[in-house]
């Protein structure tokens, strides 16, 4: 199959680049070995500090609703962290705007939402909290298999039953200024969180649960749908296994499912994620990029890879594939002319592009725009 661009990796970076290229009229395919980091996404795009109309408009076209506000947001374990660009599900408190009195509502028997940690975190900031549990009839069925009482299963029920939660909350609500609910709303329809907010007479905050992330999965579905609607080919569950090169250029990629049918293209984008998604591999001796064997920026001494303080920033998270200024990959010190790199596989090699989802968006925009101009 011949395409303009083949993208390896179907996470936030791969999909963003794919959509942008399809919009520019280029034919593309995305190879995606399994699901990606969006399934663990908090809804906060790390490291975006400028107000970013470009990103907001781009996502709105896919039905993904973002907002940009500077402040802090509430993490699943009760910590407040600086936030800016986020999915609409995520509430951002401006400076001095933290809740004074909060009602935390969870479902009886749902263990993936940490109400008491949330309360502890908020109480440290001087917010009084009350925790209440509710039962919704439609959810009773889930209890037959308690170990599978998970965010996504609850969310499927809530797609239909969210108004019952609103009723229960309205009954429970006393003089609290804020209601905190688990992030299990709007799996199907991204409008649901705002509809809930309209119907409850207090500020409504959706706090993260254990994975999978409901707003993250929804975002993945919306981006994939948008990409396919624009004519892109999404090869779900397939894996790039080898590359054919021709001098300083990549000519085709072979995949696990399409053995005997290499994907040829003029340009390639490597967006295979970090260690977590197998974009980078490691053993006790070294760190490497498994598909092309690209040059990797990493510390030589293994003792420096990690900080014994588990909660500190871990140096290995900064390791990434080496590229030139226009994000073309390096192998044995030489530039590969038509192989661009985007997303977390870059690690911290380009600090100006930020980290996390901010890095994924900026690098994907950058490489897609370069390719679209060629």
């Amino acid at each position: 199959m011949k395409l303009n661009t083949v993208i390896i990796g179907g996470g936030l970076a791969g999909l963003t680049a794919g959509i942008r290229l399809q919009k520019a009229g280029k034919s593309t395919a995305i190879i995606s070995a399994g699901q990606n980091a969006l399934h663990f996404f908090s809804g906060r795009f790390e490291s975006v500090s400028e107000s970013s109309a470009d990103f907001i408009d781009f996502f709105a076209e896919a039905g993904v609703r973002l907002h940009y506000h500077e402040g802090v947001s509430l993490m699943p374990m009760g910590k407040l962290v600086p936030s800016s660009l986020s999915l609409e599900d995520v509430s951002i408190f401006p400076e001095g705007g933290l809740p004074r009195k909060a009602l935390i509502v969870n479902f009886t028997g749902y263990h993936d939402f940490f109400s008491s940690f949330l309360a502890e975190g908020l109480e440290k900031e001087g917010c009084a909290c009350r925790i209440r549990f509710i039962r919704i009839d439609e959810m009773e069925r889930l209890r037959e298999s308690p170990s599978e009482m998970r965010s996504v299963h609850i969310a499927r029920i809530m797609d239909k039953a969210w108004e019952k939660v609103v009723q229960e909350v309205r009954v429970l609500l006393k003089d609290e200024d804020t209601v905190i609910l688990p992030q299990v709303f709007g799996l199907k329809d991204s409008h649901t969180p705002s509809l809930i907010r309209e119907r409850i007479p207090a500020k409504v905050v959706f706090a993260g649960t254990l994975p999978p992330s409901v707003p993250g999965i929804r975002t993945q579905l919306q981006l994939r749908r948008r990409y396919e609607l624009l004519g892109g080919t999404f090869l779900m569950g397939d894996e790039a296994v080898s590359a054919e090169t021709d001098g300083a250029r990549v000519s085709s990629i072979s995949t696990k499912n399409l053995q005997g049918h290499p994907l040829e293209a003029e340009h390639f984008i490597l967006a295979t994620g970090g260690f977590f998604s197998k974009g980078l591999s490691s053993n006790p001796q070294k760190v490497w990029e498994p598909l092309f064997g690209l040059d990797v920026e990493a510390l030589a001494d293994r003792n420096e890879w990690y900080d014994p303080d588990f909660l500190k920033e871990q140096p290995y998270m900064g390791f990434g594939v080496k590229t030139d200024a226009s994000l073309r990959a390096l192998k044995a010190g030489e530039i590969i002319d038509n192989l661009y790199v985007a997303g977390s596989i870059l690690g911290a090699t380009h600090p100006e592009l930020g980290s996390g989802a901010g890095l994924a968006l900026r690098s994907a925009f950058a490489v897609a725009d370069l390719i679209a101009k060629l």
Partner: protein, 403 residues
């Protein structure tokens, strides 16, 4: 030897990091709380089963083998293989008569075909359905696929000479469905391949691919079929022929399940066994041409069957359909239709089966196409029964569009 070599396992189960993404994509978990879900049924359960088979959970039978868990897994765990392999290994209960009958698609076909008009009339009767429902637990909402009075094999044999005259040749694994129920699909394939200058041959007596046996507790019988099929496929491949198919499930079974679940080595034939859509796409890409009717107009919505999703070849059907002038194409969200072969025929699964498919049916009604395209015969029954829209294999649409 390194530590990794000691800890690695068949089906990659130790790669599981408990993220539950598989369970999020399992269609059964969404409708049947008795099913423990792919994470528990697969890698979690495996850990226990390896310690003691006592931990085998009979509820694994609710798995419909759609493999969507495996497609979604970010860590490369063969979740679906783990579940089916555990059923084969630990579930020694004899399959029920009903399951045996449902699973023996070619045996049933060869019995029923000579009496096709009678069988069709009888199985279509309300009273027969009620009897089957009550005695056999085959749900009365289901209609048995009609049997064709004349088999596809017979039809093609009569054209042996004419087909042999084409300069190029392929062999065709038609499967039970084309042979006994719907020879028209086979005829459509012959028409399209002939238009490309390719003649079609039968294999030297193929057997049912065996998937229905694998999932109905008859793996010994399935293994016999696998050994037989690999041998006859091998004969065609030795002659330098490619073997084409029109069913995504037969293809996945013979390419992937034979080695992974039945331990039957298919390495000599695997690369030569292709869905016809892929074969045709590759011919066209290499410069071959098809002439299409100028007046053709059809609104097509493509449904990716679960086994096609796993195979990863939906792209060929999609690209072929888009290539036909006058086709208005919509790709439906990839989702299970709920039938999964014989699963949805069983009374105990009927409700779950319909609930699983609901989102897909809803989307089809919203798109309102002239026809739904898909490469799987059981999806066809399910979607036709549940939505009233007609469903065709992309090959048949291609054949209709030819000038």
């Amino acid at each position: 030897m390194t530590l990794q070599e000691y800890t690695s396992s068949i089906h990659n189960f130790e790669e599981c990091m408990k993220c539950t993404v598989c369970t999020a994509y399992c269609p059964v978990v969404q409708v049947n709380p008795l099913y423990p879900g792919p994470k528990q049924a697969g890698p979690d359960g495996e850990r226990l089963r390896l310690k003691d088979p006592y931990f085998f959970n009979k509820a694994l039978k609710y798995c419909l083998n759609c493999k969507r868990c495996e497609v979604a897994c970010p860590s490369g765990v063969h979740v679906a293989d783990l579940i089916q392999a555990a059923r084969i290994r630990y579930d020694h209960s004899a399959p029920k008569l009903r399951d045996r009958l449902l699973a023996s698609t070619d045996f049933m076909g060869s019995l029923a075909r000579p009496f096709a008009p009678i069988v069709n009339a009888v199985t279509g009767l309300g009273v027969t359905k009620k009897v089957l429902d009550a005695t056999m637990k085959i749900d009365s909402h289901r209609t048995f696929p009609k049997y064709s009075a004349s088999s596809f094999e017979r039809w093609l044999k009569r054209r042996r000479k004419e087909q042999a005259a084409f300069p190029e040749q392929v062999a065709y694994f038609h499967g039970c469905y084309v042979n006994y129920n719907y020879p028209q699909l086979g005829k459509d394939l012959v028409k399209v391949l002939n238009a490309l200058g390719v003649g079609v041959q039968l294999l030297e007596k193929e057997k049912c691919c065996g998937i229905a046996m694998i999932v109905n507790g008859m793996s010994k019988e399935a293994t016999k079929h696998a050994v037989h099929n690999v041998a006859v496929l091998g004969k065609a491949v030795e002659k330098g022929l490619k073997v084409v198919t029109t069913s995504s499930t037969c293809t996945l079974t013979m390419r992937e399940e034979y080695p992974a679940l039945l331990g039957v080595d298919n390495s000599a034939v695997k690369d030569s066994l292709l869905l016809a859509t892929r074969y045709i796409f590759e011919r066209l890409e290499a410069g071959a041409q098809l002439k299409f009717r100028p007046d053709f107009h059809l609104k097509v919505a493509y449904h990716t069957p679960c086994h096609m999703e796993k195979l990863g070849w939906g792209v060929f059907s999609e690209k072929l359909l888009k290539m036909i002038p006058g086709v208005e194409f919509t790709l439906l969200d990839s989702a299970c239709c709920g039938i999964s072969g014989t699963y949805g025929f069983k009374k105990e699964n009927y409700e779950a089966s319909q609930a699983i498919g609901a989102a897909l049916f809803e989307q089809i009604r919203a798109v309102n196409p002239d026809v739904v395209a898909c490469d799987c015969e059981t999806c066809k029954w399910q979607i036709e029964m549940s939505t009233g829209y007609s469903v065709k294999n992309p090959i048949s649409i291609l054949a209709e569009a030819l000038a």
